[in-house]
Symmetry: C2
Subunit: 417 residues, 2 copies
Amino acid sequence: MTREEALALDAQDPLSALREHFTLPPGVIYLDGNSLGALPKATPARIARAVEQEWGQGLIASWNNAGWIALPRTLGDRLAPWIGARPGEVLVADSTSVNLYKVLHAALQLQQGKRKLVVSERSNFPTDNYIAQSVVRAHGGELVLVDTPEDIPPLLDERCAVLMLTHVNYRSGRMHDMALLTRWAHQAGALAVWDLAHSAGAVPVDLLGAAADFAIGCGYKYLNGGPGAPAFVWMHPRHQGQVWQPLTGWLGHAAPFEFSAEYRPAAGIQQYQCGTPPVLAMTGLDTSLDVFDEAHKLGGMAALRRKSLALTDAFIAEIDARVPTANVATPRDASLRGSQVSISLPADVDGYAVMQALIARGVIGDFRAGEPALLRFGLTPLYTRFVDVVDAVGILVDVLAAESWRAPEFQKRSAVT
Amino acid sequence: MTREEALALDAQDPLSALREHFTLPPGVIYLDGNSLGALPKATPARIARAVEQEWGQGLIASWNNAGWIALPRTLGDRLAPWIGARPGEVLVADSTSVNLYKVLHAALQLQQGKRKLVVSERSNFPTDNYIAQSVVRAHGGELVLVDTPEDIPPLLDERCAVLMLTHVNYRSGRMHDMALLTRWAHQAGALAVWDLAHSAGAVPVDLLGAAADFAIGCGYKYLNGGPGAPAFVWMHPRHQGQVWQPLTGWLGHAAPFEFSAEYRPAAGIQQYQCGTPPVLAMTGLDTSLDVFDEAHKLGGMAALRRKSLALTDAFIAEIDARVPTANVATPRDASLRGSQVSISLPADVDGYAVMQALIARGVIGDFRAGEPALLRFGLTPLYTRFVDVVDAVGILVDVLAAESWRAPEFQKRSAVT
């Protein structure tokens, strides 16, 4: 694809106006929205209002008057249609890890100790497997990790309590068939817990359509809620009233402002709230969901997905054509692909240093060590352009050809990669 | 005390300059900093910088370049001296409820199943008792609640695993003797877990001096971190490496950016981190700790405590002199008093409506139902003046004399009280 062809695609892109809702630094091609979403233009003023007016002037009364106390539910209701859930089913609270802890305990409890295996992938994002290790320990169970998705079906048997998967793999960008795997899990009598960290806002998700049991996900990646924005949690309505989660904080109580001594869980998803909601962080997510309202007007998730696949197709084609030494680790089959492209480079090329050299040239992706080591490029349909794809790969070609990544400054490791 | 005498006390107050660090709405006497601290003047610009520069321009690189990844520890280090801990011992993370869950599990684990009773107060803030109910259930233990502090010592025996107390009671403002109760708990072989929600930033706390085992607390009350600001957690260094907490998220791992499959807890307090820190919320707390740096220069906690007691003494004296029908529920003994004054009114006076009438007149405290129903007035030495005490009680006298609280608009209940 020539730069001119890319610009022509951008000119025809029905979603191109959405990029105008984001602040992006000049000279930067930001391809790391799968790690930290970009800043919506409306967010600074909205957070400033929350700080100066709602907190500074409204003070304690803002829990009622500014709707603070309802934020976990109102944000959940706004998010629900993007993950195939209904209003009233989703709660925004805590972190992805904490929410996984809640739902995994709940899921194992539903199995009443009769089944004790949790099945997941070794390549799952580590926090999921760490949390699962803790929860299975509490239930006297075991975490079984598979090395490839093909190894999952044989483990879905009468010993399997929970199939716990991240819908889109954080390293490869490979996407599972949620409906199929959930069906297989259910046929085996297991429950399906889905982590939507790399799905929500990026790919179509239909939790109710898949009849999934529990889901959790992240607010600061494709949802653009800001660094460390609160996460979300969903439970299928069929489990309401059947289950108890262990983080029994006061705001998950049926009547928190009665201040009664005995815990009595709220009905439905509200029982997954624990402590006081982080209002300023939630305000960021509230504002970023406004951009999704705009996306809804322009065709919603179907349109986002079309553009996402066109972007990742283009990125893969550019890599194939211009970086023949690279191996594309992300599935070429669109039905198996999230909204990122990961590539590996030959063993004699230091991928970490290549990414640092790219960043120095304004192309921001990230690097993940492992087998193979990967360069990840997140392509978010809300603000990535086709010209960004062509330019980014062009700069990668330059960096590799000139071996500029060999400069000592690009070898230096940071605390966070 | 006459208004002139109060103004004279304010003029002599060595801490009076600290009030200038806060934004307070004109015409408001804010006596609810024990529920939501006021807005520091520097916070809006600092949060705007975090949003617009660190997030908007710095994007993902700010995890390293803006120090985001270290915030849980750097804020913990800043907070440490105010609670009698050392740098490296305190972590800022999650909510008070979630942190209590972590430390209570850890404490029961240290008892190795040999002791299973958790002793607390029925009048403890409900979330503490709710979380304890969940944790004792997981450990096959029991939560024993006492009705008065005098009932605690007899329960400190060979069956007691943990004495879990909130240092300053949220209703009465009564303060426990942390050192004495911790000593008694230890003499009985129990561990002491302290909730500092109404203590941190308000009263002297010496965790190491008391040899306490674990502590948690809140960032949005006397610490002024903003609505739903993250909480904190502390563990005595003697327990480092001895114990495991169940919320085993990736940032509590010894080497999170190795992305290894097996959980391996970080050394010390770092293992109490779970998910990704809420950067914007933490920035609020970071800024509010600057005000405490100023307070440190003016005499630190000793000076804050002197002023706090002078304020609460004055409030109690004004109530005694001018509202003889009210009963002061907060201890008159200064050594037993936090930084609030709670009063009850005769049974034929609707305390809730009185508080609404006070708020309509610009005096913001809050109301807590129960036996007795209480009107709470938080007096924070950082921004409350003596003239506020005199004026607030004067307005209470007016409201009671004119029975203006009987107006129908003041009977209406809000969701959050």
